[in-house]
Structures are given as structure tokens and as C-alpha cells.
């Protein structure tokens, strides 16, 4: 009984330690090289950023955003196209934010106002956004040489701005979920939609807010990812949504919303990072990485269910 209790409270930490040790042993200690640890963080910044946004979306009642990976590609593509045509880096960044907000607002309006299922809306928008991004890229890979952009988002020497962006995104999610009155409303809506609505919580406003927040974070993730690589190509971000969703569920966020802590999500993102990095060091092909990620996604939800054994709202 005691072991079960301990596992229930700390299963994330236990899983993290076990998986880190597993990949540490498999890679013969290479995982713990300073370079690899820095890499681990830099290559998985997007997981932290997108997972923070996804967390808020899922909290509002199991709403998800499958399109964020494609949106990263689209936002990056538009910014790079603009800078290629001589637009100033600062303007491009503003445009990126605008697009993120617009995408989020459209999602939020369709899901909040019309009560459309988020899975269908974002699946459809994933297809739309990916199509537009490919049209803008025209099959080419774009690169960037704008100084401001690279300074702000790149990983060259100097002050690590990218770290600030990650920190800001996570802190914003912490503030919203832990301290802001809005956060209480989000939890209430996810916990029991009917009573939340009856007690006067504006559902449309909250879902709009969650998706606009997600859109802003998608724009930030686009900046950080494209800044690090310096290029945008077709196919960028295909598994990003999956990573973010998996991080949330590993972190113990309830699939139907209303339950979960940002600390768990951060832990989940870290775990996803270790898994991503460990698999890359092992030289596993992307295909097998996808298989493993798919299994992890189900296992994460399943373990949450088995450890809590709480009645779900679904029948």
C-alpha cells in the first residue's frame, strides 16, 4: 500500500529517473555530457513552450490543438519570406505574433462559440495551415540572415534570449494556472462545464483566451525553433503537437480537463526531452521514434488512469 501511495505521488519523478538512467546506460554515459545536456534543452525548447499552451487548452475541458506543429511551420515560413524580401526583423516578429493570435482566435471562436469538437477543428486547420505553409515555401527551404532575428532567437554566442522566451512562456502558464482569477475559471470550466456555466463563467471568453494564448506561444515556438536552425523547410513541426500533448499527459493533466499542475507539465516536457534526445543519440530512425512516442502517449494516459482510478466524466 505504501509503495502504491509513493508511486501515486511521485510516479513522474520515478519515471524520469528510470528513463534517464535507461538512456544514460544505453548511451554509455553520453547523455550526461555537458554538450548533450545543453542540446537536450535547446532542441526541445519547443516542447516546453507548446506544452505550456496545450496545458491551458486541455484544462478548459479536454480541448486540444493538433495544428500547432503546422502553425509553427507557417509562421516561420511567412517571417522568413518577409525577411527575404527585405522586411525588417522586428516587423517580421510582430507579424509572427499577429498570425499566431489570428490562428488562435479563429480556433477559439469556432470551438468556444459554435461548440465544435476541437479535434475536428484543429485537424481541419492542420490541413489548411500545412497547405498554406507549403504554398508559401513552394517546396524550398528558406534561410535567414536578419541580425535582429538571429540575435533574438538564435543560439549564437551572447545573451541567451531563447532561454528567456522559454522561461516567459512557462511563467505565463504558471501565472495563469496558479495565481490569476482566470485560472480558477479555467479549472472550473474543465472540471464541470455545466456548473461553471451556471455560476456565470463566460465559457466563450475562456476558450477564446486559451486558444489565443496557445497561438501566441506557437508564434514564440516558431521563432525559437527557426532561430535555432536558421532555416524553414516543408515538413517542419510534424510531430510537435504530439510532443506537446504527450508532455501534458505524462505530466498528469486529465484528458477531460480540469485537473493537472503546470509543474507536472514541465516535468513531462523534460521527460519528453530526455526521450527525444536519448533516441537520437541511439540513432533510432524517425519512424521508430514515432512508434515509441505513440506508445508513450497511450501509456501516459493509461498510467494516470490506473494510478488514480477515478471515475471519468465520460460514460
Amino acid at each position: 500500500m505504501k509503495i502504491r501511495e509513493f508511486l501515486r505521488n511521485n510516479y513522474l519523478f520515478v519515471a524520469f529517473v528510470l528513463i534517464t538512467i535507461l538512456f544514460g546506460v544505453l548511451s554509455e554515459g553520453k547523455l550526461f555530457y555537458a554538450g548533450n545536456i545543453l542540446n537536450l534543452f535547446q532542441q526541445n525548447m519547443y516542447v516546453f513552450i507548446l506544452a505550456s499552451g496545450m496545458f491551458i487548452c486541455i484544462l478548459t475541458g479536454g480541448n486540444t490543438d493538433l495544428s500547432c506543429g503546422s502553425a509553427v511551420c507557417l509562421i516561420g515560413a511567412i517571417a522568413f519570406r518577409m525577411m527575404e524580401n527585405g522586411t525588417d526583423g522586428a516587423v517580421a516578429i510582430l507579424v509572427m505574433l499577429m498570425i499566431g493570435i489570428i490562428i488562435g482566435a479563429i480556433h477559439g471562436y469556432l470551438i468556444g462559440r459554435f461548440r465544435l469538437p476541437s479535434i475536428i477543428v484543429t485537424l481541419a486547420s492542420m490541413s489548411i495551415i500545412r497547405g498554406i505553409a507549403n504554398l508559401i515555401l513552394g517546396g524550398y527551404t528558406l534561410s535567414v540572415d536578419d541580425e535582429i532575428y538571429l540575435k533574438l532567437f538564435g543560439i549564437s554566442k551572447g545573451f541567451p534570449f531563447y532561454f528567456v522566451f522559454v522561461l516567459l512562456s512557462v511563467m505565463a502558464a504558471v501565472y495563469i494556472s496558479e495565481f490569476a482569477p482566470l485560472g480558477k475559471h479555467i479549472y472550473a470550466l474543465g472540471g464541470n462545464r455545466h456548473s461553471a456555466r451556471t455560476s456565470g463563467i463566460n465559457e466563450i471568453k475562456i476558450i477564446m483566451f486559451a486558444y489565443i494564448f496557445m497561438g501566441i506561444l506557437t508564434a514564440i515556438a516558431a521563432g525559437v525553433v527557426t532561430g535555432r536552425m536558421g532555416i524553414v523547410g516543408p515538413g517542419l513541426g510534424e510531430t510537435y503537437a504530439m510532443d506537446a500533448i504527450a508532455a501534458c499527459f505524462i505530466g498528469g493533466v486529465s484528458v477531460s480537463g480540469g485537473k493537472g499542475k503546470i509543474s507536472g507539465v514541465i516535468m513531462g516536457a523534460l521527460l519528453m526531452g530526455v526521450i527525444n534526445q536519448g533516441m537520437s543519440i541511439q540513432g533510432l530512425s524517425v519512424n521508430y521514434q514515432n512508434v515509441i512516442k505513440g506508445i508513450i502517449l497511450v501509456l501516459a494516459v493509461l498510467s494516470g488512469y490506473l494510478l488514480n482510478r477515478e471515475g471519468d466524466k465520460r460514460l
Binding site: L116, P117, A124, S127, G294, Y305
Partner: protein, 380 residues
Amino acid sequence: MKKFLKLYSTEVVFAFVSLLFIILTGTEILRPMNITAIFLQNSYIFILATGMAICMTSKENIDISIGSFVCFICAMGGVFMAVTKLSTPVSIILLFILGILWGLLSGYLIAYLKIPAWVTTLSGYLAFRGLGVALINTFSSTGSIVGINESFLKLFSGKIFASNIDSFGPGSLMFCLILAILGILYKFYSLRKEGSRINRSVMIGCILAFIVMSLIGVSFGLTGGVPVSFVWMFIVVAITAIWIERSAEGRRLIMLGANPENARIAGVNVRKAMLMTYVFMAVCATLTGCIVLARFHASSSYAGVNFEMDTIAACAVGGVSLYGGKQKIFKAILGAALIGIINLGLSLIGVDMNWQWIIKGIIIVISVSFDMYLKKDRYE
């Protein structure tokens, strides 16, 4: 007006879009070859849409893993037949066992362990694509496994009532007319069973269906026979329609969709019914995988890309409610035909692949919103 739209929205959209493409392609789309192509190239949408309509009968259920699963089945088919040289019947049985296993697993996770459908099938979406591509890459260096058994190809991609392309084959026309008459007789029979009269709209529908089927038959006759995939499609649709409308199991399913809580109280085994829908969906996906494998003559890593989008679009256009309830298989089929026409029409005009993605995404959003608009009072 609203009532009319509510009843016939799919038909109106279908007529409008068909007309649009007839004008845009300059009646090119009406040539026998192209009408055959709708069924040849898009048979997967019809079969998958039927499965998806069943799947969506119960609330919040959806399967987005089907495209990847089709790819996985193609890869496994290639491995069975081209690599390990199994005979055709054994391979087919093995493939369907795989399909049923995945259906049972996903259904168990969704119905019994209450993991939301989108999470379960999302992981399937990721895992099966990875597995399928990995298998193909392991056994071939060119990205496709070739050397599928002849008999398998015949069974899933050949033509029956084969005739010369230059001349007209009356067998195909006869076959389609018999199918049409059977369908109409079934419609009359079920109306009588329900005790309703054969009114004008039913008669118009039957006449239209007869005309369309004879046109299809003529096209098949002019292009060298009835594609086997069309026959498979018809079998799946017929079995599903009869299963849903005539069997107790199907009635339970509809009840579950209309109101899960009531269904449970009335003694329906809700979990088992939900599990069954996923098994059915997986079997449909397996059949689709076989057809796609036979059509390509090889297992390709591009098999099944975006099938889930096409299928969901077909269901959405066909007015299959995302919130469960009684689904009309016929409407899903009409939706599938619509997506088939859009696919073919866009490629005839020469529209870029990316535009096709954009258009289909927009179609889904608009038709789902429209469905919601019609039923606003019900779900608020």
C-alpha cells in the same frame, strides 16, 4: 426553408458541387473514364466513411488512425506476400486478424479504460505510420515492396464483367442495374416494415438513384468492366446498412448514440457496443489497405496519407453528426461521393496538392459549423 435544408443539405451541396465541377472542367468530368475513376481512385473514401459513420454513432468517438493503419496493412501485406512468400488466402486472413486485433485494442482502450478516442487513435496515427514506413524501409531500399501475388491483385483490384475498352460491355450495365433494383427493393421493404407509405420524395429518390446507377453502369461498360473495388464498396455499404437498420445490435448502437445514459439504463452493454464500432472501423481500414495495396501493386510508404482527412470530410459533408445519434449510411456515402468528385475535379483542373488540403480543411470546418447551426437548440 430551414427544414428543407435540414433534410436535404447533403443532396443540395452534392448537386451544387457536381454542377460547379461540370462547368469548371468543361464537362470533362462526365466522360466514362472519369466517372469510373471516381470509384477506382476513391473507393477507399466510401469504405472508410461507412466505418467512420458507424464509429461516430456514439458521442465523441472518432478514429484518426485509419490513414496510418492503411499504410501499416499495406506494409504487412507486402511483407507477407512478397518477402515471406505466403499464399494469398493466408495473407488475407493474417491481415484481417491484425485489423481485428487493432480494433479490439483501440476499442478496449476507449470503451473499457475510458481513454478518449482522440488520444488513442492519435497514438495509432503516429505509431502505425512509423511502423509501416519502418517495415517498408527494412525490406526494400526503394521505398516500396513489390511482388504482390497475382491472385491478391485480382481479388482486390481487377475488373469483373471485363470487356474491351473500345466496345461496350453489357454485363457491367446489367450488374449495376441489378444492384440498383436490389437497393430500391430493400428501401421499399424497410419502409413497409416501418409502416410508412411510399411518398413522392422516396419515389423521386429511387428514380434518381436508378438513373445514376445506370449511368455508372454505362461508364463501367465503356471502360472495360466493373472495378472489383466498387463491388467491395457495395458489399460493405449493404452489410452495414442492413446491420444498422435490421439487427438488434444495430438498434442498440443507434440507441447508444442517441442517449448513452438511457441506453445503459435500458440494458444495452454500452462498452461492448462501442468496442464493436472500433472493430468494425478497423476491419474497414484493413479492407481499404488491401484495395490500396492491390491498386498500387506494391506497398508504398505514401499509402493512406490524409485518408483520415478525406473520410472525416466525407462524414462531415454527409451530415454525420459529430455528437452521435442516428447516422444515415446513405448520406455518408453521398458525402464520400462528393469528396471523390472534389478530388477528381481538382486534379482534372490541375489544382496543386496543397490547395486540395486547404480546400478539404475548409470543407470540414464549414460543414461541421453548418451541422451545428442546424442543431443549435439541441446542444446548447
